[in-house]
Structure formats: C-alpha cells, structure tokens
Amino acid sequence: MTTMKAKPISRRRWLQWTLVLGAAAALPGRVWATLVRPDAAFGATALDQALAALGDAPSAHEGIEFVTPDIAENGAVVPIRVAVDSAALPNVTKVSILVEMNPNPLAASFNIPLGTEVYIETRVKVAQTCTLYAVVEADGQLFMQSRETKVTLGGCGG
C-alpha cells in the first residue's frame, strides 16, 4: 500500500490532494510508488524520527485494537492485527505500524479510503524485544496503541 504526507488534512487540502492523486494515477506504478512513499518516515532509524515524520505525537486511544503476540514464535514473521472501532474513532485515513527497535522502525503504512472499516492483518519483522505501535490518523490527528512483543532465543520451557 502507499501513503501520503501526514499532516492534518483540511477539506481543501484533501481536494488538492485528490487532484494530485488523479494526476498521479496516470503514472506507471514504479514512479507512483516513489512519489507517494513517505521516504522520510520509512528511512528514519529511530522511533522518534519516524513518528515525527508521520506527524504530531500520537495519543493513546481505546478505539484501536492492536494485537501482537506476547512472545513471538518467529521474529522474522510476527503476525499483527489492527482494528479500529469506527464508532469510537471515525474518519481514519491512515494506519502505520512501527517496531521500536528495528533498524527502520516504520514497518508498514496503509492508506485507508474514507468510509472503510479498518481491519488489517499482516506480518512484520521484529528484530528484538521491544514495543510495537499502531499509529492511526483520523481527522488529521494521530492516535495509537502499543504492545510489547518479546523475541527470545527460545528453549528451556517446562
């Protein structure tokens, strides 16, 4: 999926963007990807840089359900799930997944068409035990839920 610049978006800006997107849609895929990919956020090597590139500091929101394993069965493919209760948190436009201690913390970013029920399941790499963040943009504001996932050497059980 692709994503856009992460500032509060007014209706006017949204319309401007729609025009830009309309133009961009005519471009070949590869060019399109480089145009809208948030390179700054994906390139960030620390969590605070990545969050800064996405926008303002997110606040915790109970309307976001973020499921990650307590202990990863395999750090290379960690299943995660983000679901947003649209009654509690409407108008979601973007969902980003960050893994605090990864070399590049931003693992994925999803653009959500307005009116979509947000339910995302995917797999991310988790290099070592750390906190994972689901950052949700709605009405131009950032909200989040976080969870610790442990990556262990394994063995020695029971």
Binding site: I71, E73, P79, E148, G154, G155, C156, G157, G158
Partner: protein, 567 residues
Amino acid sequence: MQRREFHKLLALGAAAGLPLPSLLHAQSASSDLYHVPRVGNVHLMHLTDVHAQLLPIHYREPSVNIGVHDAWNRPPHLVGEALVQQFELAPGSRSAHALTHLDYIAAAEQFGRVGGFAHIATLVKRLRADRPGALLLDGGDLWQGSATALWTEGQDMVEASKLLGVDVMTGHWEFTLGAERVNEILQNDLDGHIDFVAHNVKDMDFGDPVFASHTLREINGVPAAIIGQAFPYTPIANPAHFTAGWTFGIQERELQEKVDEVRAAGAQVVVLLSHNGADTDIKLASRVTGIDAILGGHTHDAIPRALEIKNAGGMTLVTNAGSNGKFLGVLDFDIRDGRIRDWSYRLLPIFAELLPPDPAMSDLIAGIRAPFAERLAEPLAMTDDLLYRRGNFNGSVDQLICEALMDELNAPIALSPGFRWGTTLLPGNVITMEDLMAQVAITYPAVTLTEMTGAFLKRVLEDVADNLFHPDPYYQQGGDMVRVGGLQYSIAPLAQAGSRIDQLTLDGKPVDANKTYKVAGWASVQQAEGEPIWSVVARWLRSQGSVRGVQPNQPEVRGLQNNQGIV
C-alpha cells in the same frame, strides 16, 4: 474402619509379624487422606504433568520457587516453612512432606514413594464409585518424560491413560513427538476415548483450528464445557519444527469468545483445562469472565487449595495439581437451577503405600516394561547424594549433567535446560539407565559444542532470566533458569530485562564479552546433530562409578529480602 476390616488387619498383621500400631497408623492415615466427602453433582478429577511416570517415584518439591511483582509471596511462590504456615499444614505430616522439600530425605524414607498409575487407578476408582459421572481430566505433559514413553513414542502412556479412564486432555510435550505422530495417536487411539482439546492451536496460514477447542459433556444432567488450553509457547520453548505450520499463544480474546459461545450453547459449568503455568492461569482468571475454574499445570506447582480470583464477571477458581503423578485434584460443584451453589476442592497426594495397586493397571505396566527390562535396569553408578532437579536455579541432577558434559566434551562451560520434570533419587541408590532417562528423555537429545562470546553467554542468561522473572506472566515461559556448569553469576530477579545478570565469572576471572568460549549443551531448539545426551551422561557415570559431594552451582541472588519463595 469397620469391625470386619479391623479383624482382617489384625490377622494380616499377625501373619506379617507387624506390630499392630504401625498397621493402624497406616490405615488411619489412608482413610483420613482419601476420605473426600462428595459435594454436589458435577465432579472433576485432575491430573497434570505426569511426565510418563507410570511407577511410583520420589519428587522433591522446590526450595527455590521465586515469585516476583504481583506473584511476590503469593501461592504458588511459597516454599518450605512459609508454605506449611500459609496452608496450615501439620509440620512433619504427610501433607507437609508432599508439598515441601523440608527434611526431604528422612521424610521420603518414612512416607515412601509417590504417584504410580496403578495406585492412581485405585484412587480414581474409589472416587468414581462415590461420584458417578465424574470426569478425569489430564492437563498434558503426559506422553513424555520416561524411557518407555520415548522408546514407544508415547504409546505406553496412551494405553495407560485410556485404561485409567482419562476423558479429556490437552498438551505440551506431546507435541515434541511431532505433529504427524500426535495426529496418528488422535486418530488411532484417542478417537472415541479421550477428547484432545486445545482452543489455542491454529493453522498458521488461515487460523483454522488444529484440534477441537472444547468438549461439552453432561455430568449428572448438568451441561459442562471443558475448554483446552495447550502450552501457549510450545514452538518457542521446544523446537518449532515439531509443530511446523501451527501457531499457539495465550489467545485471551479468542478464549473469551469461546467461553461466551459455550455458555450460549447451554453450558452451566465452564472449565479451562490449562497448560499455561500457575501465574498465567491467575492473570487469565482475572481478565476472562465466565470461567468457573481453571485446572492448570505446566509449572509443576502443587497448590493445596483452589485460589479464588476475582474478575469483572465474578470469580474464577484456579487450581494447579503438581506433577509426576504425585497428586490428583478433585473439584466438585453443586449446580442447581443453572447456578453454582457450592464447590469443594481437594488436592490429594498419591502415597503409593496407602493405595494398593490396581491389578489391571499393574499388568498393563508390567507388559509395557517387559521388552525393555534389561535396558531400564542397567546400573550406571551409585549415588551417595540426593539427586533432584526442581528449583529455579539448579538441582543436583543438573549439576551432574553439566559436569558430564564438560568432561566428555572437554568444554570449560556447560549449559543445561531448566526443565521442571525429572524425578528424585534418594542417597544410597544405584542410578539406573531408567533413572537417567527420567531426566533426559526427549526427542531432540543431541549434545552440542558451540563457540560463544562472553557477550552472547550473558545474553543467553538474560534471555532465560526474563522468561522466568518478567513482571508480566504472559511474557514468561514457565521453565526454570538455564543450569550452568563452570560459570558463576549473580542475579537480581527484580531488575529490568537485560540487567538482571551480573558478576559473570569463569574460574574466578570475569567473563570477557569479546572473548570466545567453548560451551557444551543439549536440547537445542535449533535442529542439531550430535550424540544423545543419555549416552554421554551414561558413559560419564560409568566412568565415575559413584557420585558423592555434588554441589549444585547456585548463583548469588540479589534484592529478594523477605521473599518466601527462596529459603
């Protein structure tokens, strides 16, 4: 005791030349211990973590079983005198012996061996006679832990548990036989006899259930649901290749949905048959509503009472029933008009000398053992020491294994996994191959010789320490600390992850983070080639001839003043 029985005893005693008081004593101890008045109409018996011990054994309860944070000084994290006081046990009694390490050798000699399927069978039959409709539940770790279980790929335990009348079970070490063998047993042997339930094992790709999540049984007209919770961290604690394509986890949310589903289907009693470990059971009970009881295992904790854990929906009982066939839990509910009016829980220690062996079970066990008799009985060495494993940091058996590994593989350092199974051998006994196998009988037994930097060694210790002492039990794995040979260290269980281990030394010198060390080990969760651990340790024991003066290498424990989980 009835008059007729009394006369029979007198006659027997006279014939055996026994003094009368000892006979009376044995009889009264037995009738007190196993007199369990029936309550209500829903009856559950619970065995867990038998680890394939078909015959009576000794099993020393830990003198170190530390609870941290919420679990601080809370059952099951009380040992020795603290446990005796908490549960108001009579000092020196059978119950105190069953539940603690106190005066262990003398008490074990006095009260004799514990467990054994022929003795459990007798008790189960007695309880069933008074409790029609009772179900026998097994919490897993049933098919692994002995020579015969390994050599028959669990078949001996499958046969014995069917004869015992196990109705429902879940699993953990069962899975180390491999998915194919587990499925074979389910289809060929368990089908129609034992329901294998595990709501938290799913296909990795699509989330389809691998096993039945639960079974709904009617007990004396009351619909009761037994939901299975397999060990959530099986593919992490044990080699993942045994369960390729399956994913586990605690799956709290899915459990809540399952509980709601079985309630909606009419269940008036909902029980979770769990292999979570005690602390995880307690946390789960505080968060999931609608479960009447969690009958738990995995951490081998014998908790003599049911813990009443409050949650948003009311209260859930949590019980844990020890290990190695040493205990049988009995839970009764009185259900009227769909509601629990009363309940009662007893954790019964199985003292072999108080429960005559069931003949049919004895015959089955003899038949299982016969083909292996010679291999099982092979003497390896004498022990003058008490050999035991259980404890957070080390046991004398693990010290022996580490010493054997270091000698045989010519390594200055050995690591041995912190398993909680493994029976106890009293001093003055021959260590047989069967005794050794009770400590090492696993399906991934290869010994390994690895080069590790000092930094990596510390990381290994930190990693396992976090699995034991993480503040949140959902992040613990329920094993004990990895046992170390050669190395010394200190540990602060309450410290942050990554900074619990300190003062790591080898031969009195600090371990250098950048230097490489040779480390012997076994039971790697990676696929490894190597000689099986039992042949290495057996060779070493034969060369030693006898074992004496074994001192388990214990770390210095920091920051646990007034913790009642360590003596």
